[in-house]
C-alpha cells in the first residue's frame, strides 16, 4: 500500500524538477528494484492518477523492474532475487518490501553462509530518463 506514498514522491520530484528547470515534463521512466516487491499495477495506477492531477499532466511514463542482485562480501558469490528470497516467509518479505537492505538480516549467502550481504542492484525506486520541453 505504500505504493501510493512512492507515487506521490515520484510526482512531487517531477513537479519540482519542472519548476527548477523551467521545462515541462513530457516523459519519464520509473525503475522499480525487484527487491522492493512493489505491486506494479497499484504503483502504475497511482502514478497515472497523480500525474493527471499535477503540473506534469500529460506526461507519459513506463514502470520497469530492475532485476535484483545480492552480493556476498565474504566469498563474492552473487545471488539472484529468486535465490536470495527463496527461503523467506511472508513476514520477512514484507520487511524487505519496506527496507530492501534488510535482506542481509533475513538471509545468508547460499554459498558460504555469511550475513555479509549487500544489494548490488534492484534495491528501490528511482525516476529516470526524464525528458521535457522548454
Amino acid at each position: 500500500m505504500h505504493e501510493f506514498v512512492i507515487a506521490r514522491g515520484v510526482v512531487e520530484s517531477l513537479r519540482e524538477f519542472s519548476l527548477r528547470t523551467g521545462r515541462r515534463v513530457s516523459s519519464f521512466r520509473v525503475l522499480v528494484g525487484e527487491l522492493s516487491m512493489l505491486n506494479l499495477e497499484v504503483l502504475g495506477e497511482a502514478l497515472g492518477r497523480l500525474v493527471e492531477e499535477s503540473e506534469v499532466r500529460g506526461a507519459s511514463f513506463t514502470v520497469d523492474v530492475e532485476p535484483a542482485e545480492v552480493g556476498c562480501g565474504s566469498c563474492g558469490h552473487v545471488m539472484s532475487f529468486g535465490e536470495a528470497v527463496s527461503e523467506l516467509g511472508e513476514e520477512e518479505k514484507e520487511a524487505i518490501h519496506f527496507l530492501p537492505d534488510l535482506i542481509a538480516s533475513f538471509t545468508v549467502c547460499r554459498r558460504c553462509g555469511s550475513h555479509d550481504l549487500r544489494v548490488v542492484s534492484g534495491r528501490g525506486v528511482s525516476v529516470r530518463d526524464v525528458t521535457g520541453t522548454e
Binding site: 514522491g9 520530484s13 519540482e16 527496507l99 537492505d101 534488510l102 538480516s105 533475513f106 549487500r118 528501490g124
Partner: protein, 257 residues
C-alpha cells in the same frame, strides 16, 4: 532550496521531497547524539520523549541506531508499524509514536555497510507517517557515521542536537568530534548533557565552554536503573530520579515540560 534536493543530472530520488514534507510537519526535531556508546543516549531520548508526551506535546521517537537499536526494548514496544496510504504508521507507547528498524527486523542483526545505512535512513524518514508533531526525538548511534550525517542533511534548518557525555576523558574527547561535525552542518546545538554524574565537578562543563555551547546540566548516576532498563513500564521509568533530573534539565533548556 535544500542542499539535499535532487540535482538536474542523473536519476531523481523520490524520497527527497517526501522527507522534507514529513519534517515540515514537525515543530522541533531533536537529535540525541554523543561520541561514545553506553553513555545513555537511547535512555535519554526515550525518557525525554515520554516526558514531552506527558506534558501534552505530540511526540515521536525515531531510533536510527541501526546496529544497536534499543528504543523499542527500553519502552517495551511490541506492535508493528501499520501500512497505510500515507506510509508506515508507528505504534504508540506512553503516548509516543515510536519508529525503529528493529520493528521490522525483529531483533535480527543488521549487517549494513555505509551506502546501505544511508538508504535505510532515507527510506525510514520518507515512509514513516508521524503526522503533526511538536517534537521528534531522534536516537542516534555513537560517533559521526552515516546515520548522523544523513539525518543532519535533512533536518539542518529546523533541527537541533543534544550531545550526551559521561564524566570520562574518552567520552569527552569523542564528543568534541561530534560537536565539530554538527557545527560544520550548521545544526543548532542545544548543549552538552552529562549523564551518570558521580558527584563533584562536571568535566563536560569545560568541554561545553571550549566549544562555546551551553552546558545543560548533569544527571546523577541512578543506581535504581541498574539491570532494570527494558523492564520498566513507561510510568515506572518516569518515576525514577533519572527521569526527574532529565525533566528539570530539559525544562531549563526551554523544552515544553
Amino acid at each position: 532550496m535544500s542542499r539535499a534536493r535532487n540535482s538536474s543530472k542523473g536519476p531523481l530520488d523520490y524520497r527527497e521531497l517526501l522527507i522534507e514534507a514529513r519534517l515540515r510537519d514537525v515543530s522541533r526535531t531533536v537529535l540525541v547524539t554523543g561520541g561514545k556508546g553506553g553513555v545513555g543516549k537511547s535512555l535519554i531520548a526515550a525518557t525525554a520523549a515520554l516526558l514531552l508526551s506527558r506534558s501534552n506535546n505530540r511526540t515521536g521517537l525515531l531510533d536510527l541506531d541501526l546496529h544497536g537499536p534499543s528504543s523499542c526494548l527500553i519502552l517495551g514496544v511490541e506492535d508493528s508499524p501499520v501500512e497505510a496510504e500515507d506510509g508506515l504508521i508507528p505504534p504508540i507507547v506512553g503516548g509516543v509514536k515510536v519508529m525503529s528498524v528493529d520493528l521490522l527486523s525483529r531483533g535480527r542483526p543488521l549487517p549494513l555497510t555505509g551506502r546501505a545505512k544511508e538508504e535505510v535512513v532515507k527510506e525510514v524518514l520518507a515512509l514513516t507517517f508521524y503526522g503533526r508533531l511538536d517534537y521528534l526525538l531522534v536516537d542516534l548511534p555513537p560517533g559521526t557515521g552515516d546515520e548522523l550525517l544523513t539525518v543532519s542533511r535533512y533536518v539542518r534548518r529546523r533541527g537541533e542536537a543534544i550531545v550526551v557525555t559521561t564524566p570520562t576523558t574518552l567520552s569527552l574527547q569523542v564528543a568534541k568530534r561530534v560537536i565539530q561535525i554538527l557545527e560544520s552542518m550548521t545544526l543548532k546545538i542545544v548543549g552538552v548533557l552529562e549523564n551518570m554524574h558521580a558527584g563533584g565537578g562536571s568535566p563536560s562543563k569545560e568541554l561545553a565552554r571550549e566549544a562555546g555551547i551551553e552546558f545543560l546540566g548533569a544527571i546523577p548516576y541512578d543506581p535504581s536503573l541498574d539491570g532494570r532498563v527494558g523492564r520498566l513500564r513507561p510510568d515506572e521509568l518516569l518515576s525514577t530520579r533519572f527521569a526527574e533530573s532529565l525533566r528539570e534539565i530539559l525544562r531549563q533548556a526551554s523544552y515544553h515540560l
